[in-house]
Symmetry: C2
Subunit: 350 residues, 2 copies
């Protein structure tokens, strides 16, 4: 078990998840000595869990390639392996994102027709929630990968947002057709011409994400990661301004006291924990990454996403779309991941 | 004169700017028939201005390449021409960004040693203000251009933020040296090895912009534009949440009423008008782009930036840094801009 506050947060999160989904069963990979007292503390989790002991864990600072090469006894490797073997329907981890992605790629491989997985996140918007991907699994994306991400994102939005025909947009720096990188324009053309069933609306801009203009925002991992962190930074900045503006004067403090209910509602709404869970899409198996610094509530929302996805037709729908795409060779070569490829896995801790 | 509310906003902005800088003189390029009644309304502006009549203007929807080819009688072309001829020290426009950049490149050419200009913006942060560039003049930037942008941004920060040794960071998706695109890593190496006088701190991430971790954030125009618009979208989102949370209950409305002074302070702080003015850096002449949908106060802040820059040693400092860079050939070929190049000018309206 990984993450900044594991295993406590993981077990406490599992306890919360059991309230909503009493039928979940857990395989807990980690140090039995540390888990035992927690099982005593959370008897419902103990009852729903099997502990698979290992005292090895991937550290947050481990390089992904190293973790893959030398980490076969770690809790992370073993838990991904359980998904590969069909012993578990999903793995949820708060550990090292890069190592988790590397292990997931090596063990689960990408879905037929998909060359690279993407990390999808749930982004709170003015209209509810949207899906944004890739948030950092890849530094770059060519037109085919952007098309793949659009298909994966659409399928994810159907499950996670419960929409039959989610709208999909490509992140660009202008809405006009002539703007943007070649690969983005080309991806737009392919989606329009080859995936007519998709509700593809064209280009969207940075401000359209928070406005909830589309249900699925597609971009490369570099841009997606910068956008996500810039939004987080701006939200924190706004909250700090608000706090300091209100605390500066007597009337500000009084008003804040009187309106405290409203501020609590605002805090809940902007709370990143409620949208915690980067989902690795495009693999033959389900991997959900919880924020490293999360608490039990945050970990429970990541478990929520895993449960939603595990019971869904996500893969079937994505396969259907991919099969219809003329440019996809029947099966792209996937094969074993090379050490060089794991070196390339540049996942940013979000 | 361009912009959504020209010429009224331009003249009203000039009137505000004269309060702070009574010695500015204006060349007003535009339709005399429209300007005359405004001159009667703003006698101080009338006294400080010379009107150069033209009834042609670049429309917001004009393509940059078309504007350059066919727009030689427009107010925009004529005003940039005045800077080229030394009749004006700076041009400030709220018009079509792409056309303004294309005309500026064609007429003013890039500074010796600089291959492409960048758009720099002033970003409000938790620590004050930072400079972010490029905000959309170029879709991509190679390592040399990123280094150029760092030098231009540093020099701009000295003038605009009044800092002798501003800190400079490259926007990336992780702080570790091994992460990010090759060109970003290479730019970091060049800055470290070849520009040791610069206070270069390495990589920064999206959330570091709003936190004010560095004074100058350097990135390519695509990423910069997405980051800027994502931040704007998030700020608007937060403001909407706050408004709706406070208006939903009686106590929220009462608290908001009592703390209204604090909310006004917050609004001022988050007001994009106070940081209005994208500055085109790297040209032989000063061009300031005001937001198209701005009001008089916004246009006045763009004029502020122009005045600050006009009286500064910005170009001298940038030249000094550029001259010290071993990899810069004495003078890069600049020459006439080709139609194809103007076609490439992909400036997003921000």
């Amino acid at each position: 078990m990984g993450g900044d506050f594991a295993p406590d947060v993981v077990v406490a999160g599992a306890d919360l998840a059991l309230v909503k989904y009493p039928d979940i069963r857990f395989l807990l990979f980690g140090d039995e000595e540390k888990l035992k007292p927690l099982m005593a503390q959370y008897p419902k989790v103990a009852e729903a869990s099997e502990i698979i002991h290992t005292d090895k864990a991937v550290a947050m600072s481990d390089k992904p390639s190293e973790a893959v090469r030398r980490g076969r006894q770690t809790s992370m490797w073993m838990s991904v392996d359980a998904v590969r073997k069909g012993q578990a329907e999903a793995v949820v981890s708060a550990g090292n994102t890069g190592a988790l992605m590397a292990m997931a790629k090596v063990q689960l491989k990408t879905m037929p027709g998909i060359s690279r997985p993407a990390i999808a996140g749930i982004w709170p918007t003015n209209r509810g929630e949207s899906i944004v991907l890739d948030l950092g699994a890849n530094l770059e994306a060519d037109e085919k990968q952007l098309v793949d991400f659009a298909i994966l994102g659409e399928s994810f939005a159907r499950v996670e947002l419960g929409l039959e025909h989610p709208t999909v947009g490509l992140l660009n720096i202008g809405e006009e057709e002539l703007k943007g990188h070649d690969e983005i324009r080309e991806a737009a053309r392919i989606l329009r011409e080859n995936v007519p069933e998709m509700n593809f609306v064209g280009f969207v801009e940075g401000n359209d994400i928070g406005a909830g203009k589309v249900d699925v925002v597609v971009t490369d991992g570099f841009t997606g990661n910068v956008a996500l962190k810039t939004a987080e930074g701006t939200a924190r900045q706004f909250a700090d301004y608000l706090r300091s503006a209100l605390s500066r004067t007597f009337w500000g403090r009084l008003g804040a006291f009187i309106a405290q209910g409203a501020f609590k509602a605002l805090k809940r709404k902007m709370d990143p924990r409620s949208a915690n869970g980067g989902v690795f899409l495009g693999l033959n198996g389900l991997v959900v990454k919880s924020h490293g610094g999360t608490d039990a509530m945050g970990f429970a929302s990541a478990l929520d996403v895993a449960v939603d996805m595990a019971g869904s037709d996500f893969a079937a729908r994505a396969h259907e779309r991919l099969a219809a795409l003329a440019f996809h060779e029947a099966e792209r070569p996937v094969g074993e991941i090379t050490p060089q490829e794991t070196e390339e896995i540049q996942v940013a801790e979000s």
